[in-house]
Symmetry: C2
Subunit: 196 residues, 2 copies
């Protein structure tokens, strides 16, 4: 199972954003929608062996959305219908346990700290421009957790948490890319290894 965690620093935690102006009203939920597309969408279907966690930090308290490829339904590749699914999930009152919204989409309270606790036994990678080259790194493996920031990168506090969780820093290339493009590349790097 491939796991991607994307931190949306301004992403809203309530459903009162507009599908007509995602970048302007949702705290850049559009970045998270594109990350979902990159993580799951294939030409003929979706990747069942992927899960995505979206950490939403633009509300009063953090919330996390979870999308599980093996259960997902109704996922279309376009941003707007993905945003509509997230909107639906954010209408649910979130407690500390996962609550299901639509098939394969879950919500709970809490943010990055809680996720890092859940994944304390997993192999963690933190995508950062100054990391080791992911494509030549022997360490890259299928059952890993890949942590990515949005357009704002990570705060010092988040970096300290990630460091403390023993995440390995990797970089996907020489040019600084958005999270969704990085996810396309990680999926591809793992695909090519799987077929070697």
């Amino acid at each position: 199972m491939r796991t991607f965690i994307v931190v949306g620093h301004k992403a809203v935690t309530t459903p009162d954003f507009s599908l007509e102006d995602l970048p302007g009203t949702s705290g850049r939920m559009d970045i998270l929608c594109r990350s979902i597309n990159s993580a799951f969408v294939l030409s003929h279907g979706i990747r069942r062996d992927v899960q995505v966690f979206l950490v939403l930090l633009g509300g009063e308290a953090p919330k996390t959305l979870r999308l599980m490829g093996d259960q997902l339904r109704h996922l279309n590749p376009d941003e707007r219908t993905t945003a509509a699914l997230l909107k639906k999930a954010l209408a649910i009152v979130a407690g500390p346990e996962w609550t299901r919204s639509t098939p394969g989409i879950f919500v709970r309270s809490g943010g990055l700290a809680e996720l890092l606790f859940d994944f304390q036994d997993a192999k963690l990678f933190y995508l950062r421009e100054d990391g080791a080259d992911a494509n030549t790194c022997q360490c890259l493996k299928e059952d890993a957790v890949f942590i990515l920031g949005d357009h704002l990168g990570m705060t010092e506090e988040e970096e300290a948490m990630i460091e403390h969780a023993h995440a390995e820093r990797i970089s996907v290339g020489p040019v600084s890319l958005h999270a969704d493009h990085c996810i396309v590349l990680v999926n591809w790097m793992l695909d090519t290894r799987a077929f070697l």
Copy 2:
């Protein structure tokens, strides 16, 4: 200059599609919007050394849109604002010469045949699942033209034209991906070579 040609087999040639339902009303213009994002968008700016041609075949006669990175303005990463730019360009009466819509976006009548004529002296690559591995292929080069299909692939007639134009078949990996993900990978392959 990197050039990407994406053929939208059902993509409309008039501006009367809805930004509220891109996939349903525009002949999958959403695929073309995501291809534009993949071709141009970087973390801090856009790729100036890229141009994209969108061949729109869902109208009475083919039209082609051209986006030039060195002149582009107002390009945001989200699908909807990109679609709004394309809508604007499609409101222009298109003749056989390029007419400018907004900065960096042009439109003309004609389709793939006309583009292949324009690029008769260029190195052409046709992205197809059964092509040679693009990443290990020595042939990959910066000043090339990459031709991609949308969700419908290419017709036999189009394949014959592309073949006749001496395009080399390449594949970007073991898994069948959407055009926008393929473009991310081609850009990355060229980036990593440029920085070797």
